[in-house]
Symmetry: C2
Subunit: 151 residues, 2 copies
DNA sequence: CTCATGTCAGGTTGACTGACATTG
DNA sequence: CCAATGTCAGTCGACCTGACATGA
């Protein structure tokens, strides 16, 4: 038992890293959303899958368009869609306008999932708003939008 | 050639997802930092490795403490440190106060790496400040700090 | 005996690139 | 012939949990 100052000091008194500050809320929210899906009877759906639902149009949407909207490759989106389809959340119907393409459409089960996701988002934003105040919450969104638009 | 409205419409006119807004700047910055390291002769170092450097004390730091500071498990941090060591950026010396522990210390090469990282961070913050203005840049940091503290 | 430190082994998530058949 | 769509195959980065030897 040494008499030195404890090496296992408390939390870092260091300048908080901006990268970590940006990453953490996203990670926490994703984990919570996954948990929420599981609680509501959809244990096979994780955050990225739920996220896809918001990009679906009523008429059906191509994988390539979904990929564009979610800012990922078509392959990665294809995987998400395949997973969602295999669990009955979406269906893929041929696009009458282009026989290469398929239109991804939400099923009733998918709508249910999306409702849970929207509810979660609303809750999360409410929690953050309570934490920050409405004014700073609005600032946060505005600043992030400009930042993303600019990079 | 159908006369329908183009399915491959431009960028999503949808309400921007707060999650994506948070994730993207981090992803972009990480990719750029990796690229920068490569340009400066350190192709084997990626963003998380460089990130470790800022958590090192001059006297040397335990893996467990590093993990705590970076908010990850000791195993994950152990991997990062092992990688850094195998490329000569840090060295591990036995902790005289505790024979289980090893102190991770930066080498001269590590200091060089850290300098590049700091330079990059400064550049990035300057870029963002130019994009947002100094006032909103300060707001962003403050808001994120409070948000992270609260969740 | 219990707890902390670090490492080993293995698994998972969420992406990526390249190649390809099909169709426009 | 060239471009776009979606899928298959393989790879990777960045984590995770569990088990363990060593030592406080």
């Amino acid at each position: 038992m040494s008499s030195k100052p404890p090496t296992t000091a408390a939390a870092s008194p260091r300048p908080e890293n901006l990268g970590v500050l940006l990453r953490e809320p996203f990670r926490v929210a994703s984990a919570r959303l996954h948990e929420r899906f599981a609680e509501r009877g959809h244990p096979d759906v994780r955050a990225p899958h739920g996220n896809v639902m918001q990009f679906l149009d009523d008429e059906g949407t191509r994988v390539s368009v979904l990929a564009e909207r979610a800012q990922m490759t078509k392959q990665a989106m294809g995987e998400l869609v395949a997973h969602l389809e295999s669990h009955g959340y979406v269906e893929r119907v041929p696009d009458p306008a282009d026989r290469r393409a398929k239109l991804v459409r939400s099923t009733a089960k998918g709508n249910e999932l999306y409702a849970i996701a929207r509810e979660f988002v609303a809750e999360t934003e409410a929690e953050w708003t309570e934490l920050l105040g409405a004014e700073r919450m609005r600032q946060l969104r505005g600043i992030l939008e400009d930042l993303n638009a600019g990079l």
